[in-house]
Structure formats: C-alpha cells, structure tokens
C-alpha cells in the first residue's frame, strides 16, 4: 500500500524532472537530460502500475480512495484542500496519461535530437505531465482547475516552442486566448457549484446532487446552468464548435507535442471533466443534450474539413477535433464509459498517427504537404505499417481498437431516444468521412509515385528510439479495444464493467428521459433502430472511395473538384471560420481596444487625470513659491503675522468660553 499512501509521488516525479531539466539541464549533455526527462516519467508510470496493483486489493467501500495532504485555501466556509483521490476513472486516465507520455518522451529523444532548446523541451513536457496528473488526481474542482490551467500553460509554451517563428508564437497565443474564453465559463461554473453546494469537493457535491431531482429537459435549473458553464470550459479545452479554431493552428508545435498534448491527453481533459461530473450532468438532461449535440455536430463538421486538408498534421488535427466530438456524443447520451473508452483507444491510435506523421516528416526532411509525398511505403516500412494499423483503428474497421469504442458510442446514440437519435445519423456519416480522409492520407503519403525530388530528399527510416514507441502504440491500437470485444458476442464489456462502480454510484434513480417518451417512437426511428452495422459499411465505403479517387482514378478527384468548385473552395478554406471570427469578433475588439480603451480611456481619461493633477499642483506651487523671497525681514513679518493671529485666536476662544 506504499503508493496508495504516497499518491503525491506520482505527481512529484515529473515536477522534479521539470525543475531539474529546466534549471540545470541547459548545460548538461543530452544523455543526462534524457535520463532525467524520460526517467521521471518512466518512474511515474511504474508508480501508476504499482498503484493499480494496490488499488485492485481495495474493498468496494474504500473507493474512491481519498488522501488529503494540506489545507490550501481557507476563507470562511470556502475551503480548498490539496487532496487527491483515486477511483476506477482516475486509474484509466492515469494509465493512459503516463503510458502515452512515456512513449512520446522516448520518441522525442529521437525526434528532437537535432533541435535547440533540448532541455527546455523536456522540462516543459515533464511539467505538462505533472499538471495533467494533477487534473486527473484532483479531489476537488479548484485543484482540478489548477491542473486544467497548468496544461493550458504548457500547451502554450510547447506550441510556441519555436518562438522565433512568428506563426508558432501567434498559434500559441491563439490557443491560450481561445481556451481562456471557455475557461471563463468553467470558473463561473465552479463558483456557482460552490454557491449551490457550499463545497467544491467532488464527494460532497455528488452526495448532495444525488438527492436532487432530475431537472426537466425543457427548463433551466441550477444544475443545468452549472453543467452548461462547466461544459463551456470543456468546449475550449477539447476544441469543440465554436472554440475549436485553436487546435489546427496548434500544429505549429513540435510533432511529439501534437501527439501528447493535442491528441492523446490534454484535449481529452474536457471529456474527462464531463465524465467526472456525471452526477450533475445526469440530472440535467438539457445540458446533456447540448453536450451530445455539440459533440455530434463537431464530429461531422471537423470530418468534412479534414477531407480536403493537404498538410499531413492538419488532417490529423481536424480528425482529433472530430474524434473528441464522438467522445462528447458518447457522454451526452449517457454512455460515459463508452466516451472514456474512446478516449483511451483514441489516445493510442491518434498518438500513434501523430508520431508516425512526425516520422514521415522526419524522413522527408521537414516536408508536411502530402501533395509533395507519395510512394513512401517501401522506404519507411515501420512507419507505414504502424500508421496503417492506427488508420484501420480510427476508421473503425472491425477488430481494431477504434471499432469497439466508436461502435459503442454510436450504438448508445442509436439506442437513445428523442432528438439525440438524429445525432447518430451525423455520427455515422462522420464515421464514413473519417475512413475516407484517413485512407486518403495513407494513399497520398505512402502509395503512388513519389512527387518529390528524389535527388534532393534523402528518405530514411527513423532511428530505433522513434520506431519502438510506434510499434508499441501500434500493438495497442490493435488490441486496445479487446476489453469490449466479448460484448459484441453477447458477453461482458470488461471496460464498462471496470468503470461501472464510478458511473453507477450516483446515477439518477429514473432514466433522464421518462419511459413514455421513449415508447412513442416514430416509424422513422424504428427504422433507424434496425440499422446495425451501418458504420462499418460506411467505413468500408470511405476506404473504397479514397482508393477510387487517389489510386484508381486520380483524374476523378480533379474532375470532382472542378464540378463542385463552390463547395470545394468553401470546405478547402475551412468554411472561412477564421475569417468570420476575425471580422465579427477580433477586428471589432481590436478597434474598441485601440480607439476607445487605448486612445480614449487610457490616454485621454487616465493619463489626462494624472497629468492634469500634476499640472495643477505644479502651477499652484509656482505661484506659491513667490512668497519665499529670500528676504529675512519678510520671513519675520510672517512670523509676526502668525504670532498675532494665534494670539487673537486664543483670546477669541477665551472670550467665547
């Protein structure tokens, strides 16, 4: 029970690594930086493994295991403890975070080997792991918010890692500011939760929420407002409509960063938060519907953009946005376990896709545009095979990890009643699009004839410290979903069974939607309910069309582009969302800031007041100093005037008395 009693060790190791590398690493050789950077995460991973062994020996009554270290803030009834807790959900997240982090750290020793700021990179990465683990282990909303903001900080630092490049610096700022909009909602949500429950501890909040009635789907209640505010934070952090715009730009950062932060871990924090707060969400059907709707629409919308991107990392970025939408769809229809399951498998296959894309970029000497690739299959076989495994997983080909998790979400959406059933349609269309754009990526990159200058670009397979993490992740991209496999043959879903205690403990007594509403299903809904296996068919269709357009008849793609010019340009330019935001929000804000706040308020009002006061004082002083003539007799006169005045005053007071 050593780790269970010393949970802080899991956090302290990466923090120590970050501090050591950050303060001392810049003058150390790379081997020393590696051993600190990778070693601290590896030790943390081992701690988590030991923790799982100890955790499984705990009785059901001891879960969630709670450990309070010290009182952090205490103001009246507002008390924040530095307290950590472990339950099944935490275990899953800890395992995913430390495992993927470890592999990405190992990969980075190869990928970043020729880059400047080597120690700085590992310091930031370790710091990120620390904050992510804080977020996951936190036992109250405020400590969770500390981790939440901390990962945002590390995201900013790592996106802008090459800060001399203007686009990287701007992308970092964009990510930070955009997520901050959502975080405002998150903060207000925390305050409202405290106002309602007089506590910010998860346990206390959930106990009280469990006694509250399920709110009406049509009306706003306190729980609904809290949930919607918290979800605003998730929208920013997990890049959902309308705040997803920062994630594609975040690809300016080094590729391992994209893999770890912007695919596997940080962006899934929103999903984790929604799952963690499920006792509240389950009692706020309207909020739950918003979660599902935002998720499904984002899943579809981002997938359409991914179809026409030419930058290999941008395709994956939009794919991430789309997959995060799936996770929210799962949570939104009440299938939290399915959402977390997809979070886990996605961490494996999307982390792998990014790392493999990094390997491709490495092999191509920095080229990211897929139009300048092609035919790499034979030259970088390890990268090709691992990336293919991840692609099969994300496309939802049966047997691979993504199939099980995605299918569970879609099945939950299909079995739900009311309006969410129509979100299923968006979900399966997005599944088809996912398959299409991923195989398009594979075909453009690895098949066909080389479209680069073979004399200039020396294509080479990546070193072993990059290919080994790829292979390990590929293995998990294949088998990572097999926990749920028996479920498809009528057996048990072991993953869901593992998480069951978490999500069953505070489940509302009645389903969120009354049964009579579910009973009144239309014929159209019944038709939908009878359609099983559609996602797989669509995935195969996507594969087929990708093959048709990019291998079989390359001309067809060009002709389709010509005939659908308007639609093509709309999608190719990402629906002009960045331009719309610039016109509607950023430019007006800049105008107001410049003309009203800067020139008006700051320069005229504040500076005017301050300088005006000084000016008046100076003018009066200039007048007054004339009194001091330097003539001793004048001074004497003043003394006499003062003495006489004072005497008169004394006499006057005496007379009045």
């Amino acid at each position: 029970m050593f780790i269970l009693h010393h949970l802080w060790l899991i956090l302290a190791l990466p923090l120590a690594g970050a501090a050591i590398n950050g303060l001392l690493g810049w003058k150390w050789p790379k081997a020393a930086v590696n051993s600190i950077g990778v070693g601290s995460v590896a030790l943390s991973f081992l701690c988590v493994l030991e923790l799982i062994r100890e955790f499984l020996q705990l009785g059901a009554s001891q879960v969630p295991y709670f450990e309070k270290y010290f009182n952090w803030i205490s103001a009246g009834i507002f008390k924040v403890d530095f307290a950590l807790q472990v339950d099944q959900l935490t275990i899953v997240m800890l395992l995913v975070v430390t495992f993927v982090s470890l592999l990405v750290h190992i990969y980075s020793t190869g990928y970043m080997a020729h880059e400047g700021g080597y120690a700085r990179f590992f310091s930031y990465m370790n710091l990120f792991v620390f904050f992510m683990l804080t977020l996951v282990l936190a036992a109250n909303l405020v400590l969770m918010f500390v981790g939440w903001e901390g990962v945002g900080l590390c995201s900013y630092l790592l996106i802008g890692f090459w800060f001399l490049k203007d686009s990287a610096a701007s992308a970092g700022k964009k990510a930070f500011i955009t997520t901050r909009i959502g975080d405002f909602g998150f903060t207000v949500g925390i305050l409202l939760a405290f106002w309602t429950f007089h506590s910010i501890d998860f346990g206390t909040i959930f106990h009280q929420a469990a006694n509250m009635p399920v709110e009406s789907a049509a009306a706003f209640g306190t729980l609904t407002v809290i949930c919607l505010l918290l979800f605003a934070g998730a929208i920013g952090k997990s890049a959902q409509i309308p705040l997803y715009v920062w994630l594609p730009d975040a690809m300016e950062g080094p590729t391992p960063v994209s893999a770890l932060i912007h695919a596997a871990t940080m962006v899934t924090a929103g999903v984790y938060m929604v799952a963690r707060m499920h006792p509240l969400f389950s009692r706020a059907p309207l909020a739950l519907f918003v979660v599902a709707a935002v998720g499904a629409v984002t899943a579809f919308y981002a997938a359409t953009i991914g179809v026409l991107q030419t930058d290999i990392k941008k395709v994956l970025a939009y794919s991430t946005v789309s997959q995060l939408g799936y996770m929210f769809l799962g949570c939104g229809v009440g299938a939290y376990a399915a959402g977390i399951f997809h979070l886990m498998t996605h961490a494996f296959f999307k982390g792998l896709l990014f790392l493999a894309a990094g390997s491709v970029i490495h092999a191509m000497g920095g080229e990211q545009d897929m139009r300048n690739m092609g035919g790499l299959r034979k030259k970088i076989p390890v990268t090709y095979w691992t990336m293919l495994a991840a692609t099969l997983a994300i496309a939802g080909i049966p047997g691979f990890a993504g199939f099980f998790s995605k299918d569970e979400i879609l099945e939950a959406a299909r079995n739900s009643s009311g309006a969410t059933v129509w979100l299923w349609v968006l979900g399966i269309v997005a599944a088809g699009l996912t398959s299409f754009y991923m195989f398009r990526l594979i075909f453009l990159t690895f098949f066909g004839k080389p479209r680069y200058d073979e004399h200039k670009v020396h294509v080479h397979e990546s070193p072993r410290n990059m290919t080994i993490p790829l292979s390990i992740l590929a293995f998990f991209s294949v088998v990572g979903g097999w926990f749920a496999a028996p479920h498809f043959f009528g057996g048990t879903d072991y993953f869901e069974q593992f998480l069951h205690p978490v999500f069953a403990a505070y489940a509302p007594p009645t389903p969120a939607i009354p049964p009579e509403a579910a009973a009144t299903s239309t014929p159209a809904m019944e038709l939908l309910h009878s359609l099983t296996g559609i996602p797989v068919i669509l995935a195969v269709l996507g594969l087929f069309f990708a093959w048709w357009f990019y291998i079989h008849k390359p001309d067809a793609a060009r002709r389709a582009k010509e005939s659908l010019r308007g639609l093509y340009s709309l999608v190719y330019n990402k629906y002009f969302i960045d331009e719309v935001y610039a016109a509607l929000i950023i430019n007006p804000l800049l105008w107001i800031s410049t003309n009203v706040l800067w020139h008006g308020v700051d320069e005229t009002l504040i500076d005017g007041t301050v300088n005006g006061t000084a000016h008046v004082a100076r003018g009066l002083g200039g007048q007054l100093r004339e009194i001091q003539s330097g003539n001793a007799r004048t001074y004497a006169t003043w003394v006499v005037v003062g003495a006489v005045g004072f005497t008169v005053l004394l006499i006057a007071v005496w007379m009045v008395r």
Binding site: S629, G630, N631, A632, A636
Partner: protein, 100 residues
C-alpha cells in the same frame, strides 16, 4: 508697590518696538539691537512675574536668556562681520539667498 500690569505693559511696549524695528530697519546691526531689545522685554516680563508670584523660576529663566543672548551676540556679530566683508554692505536687502 507697583502693580504687575505696569511691568507687563512696559514689557509689551518694548517688545513691540523691537518687533517693529526688526521688520522695518535695514541695517543688520540695528536689527541685531532690535533682537536684544525683544529678549530684554521678555526678561522684564519674567522678572515681574517672578516677583509677583514670589517664585524663583522666572529669575532662573532670565539667567538662561542672558546667557543665550551673550552666545547669540558672539555668533551673530561674527556672521555680521563675514557678511560685511563679502558683500561690502550691511543692508539686509542684499542678503537674499535664503529662498527656493
């Protein structure tokens, strides 16, 4: 016996003459003498009170004032000599450096 008010009126008149002379005279030596006049006017008031109230405190103060006046005369005349050497003038209007 002469009433105390006589002494006090005399003291006040002497002090007032001293003040007026201090303010309106321009010669430093004269101003110096005006200061001495004021000091002695105060001495007279002290002595008068001491005698009227039959207490020694006033007399003791007078001795202090005489001592201070002597010291002040020594230092003050030294300053006057320096000023007259540097400025070639005893007019107090010419000594106006004591300002902003």
């Amino acid at each position: 016996m002469v009433p105390i008010s006589y002494y006090l009126v005399l003291s006040g008149v002497l002090f007032g003459l001293g003040v007026i002379a201090f303010i309106f005279k321009r010669n430093i030596i004269t101003i110096f003498m005006a200061i001495e006049l004021m000091l002695n006017a105060v001495n007279l008031a002290f002595v008068a009170f001491a005698r009227a109230r039959n207490q020694l405190d006033g007399l003791v103060f007078v001795f202090f004032v005489i001592v201070v006046a002597a010291a002040e005369a020594a230092v003050g005349l030294a300053i006057v000599i320096i000023i007259s050497q540097n400025r070639r003038s005893l007019n107090v209007e010419d000594v106006n450096l004591l300002k902003f």
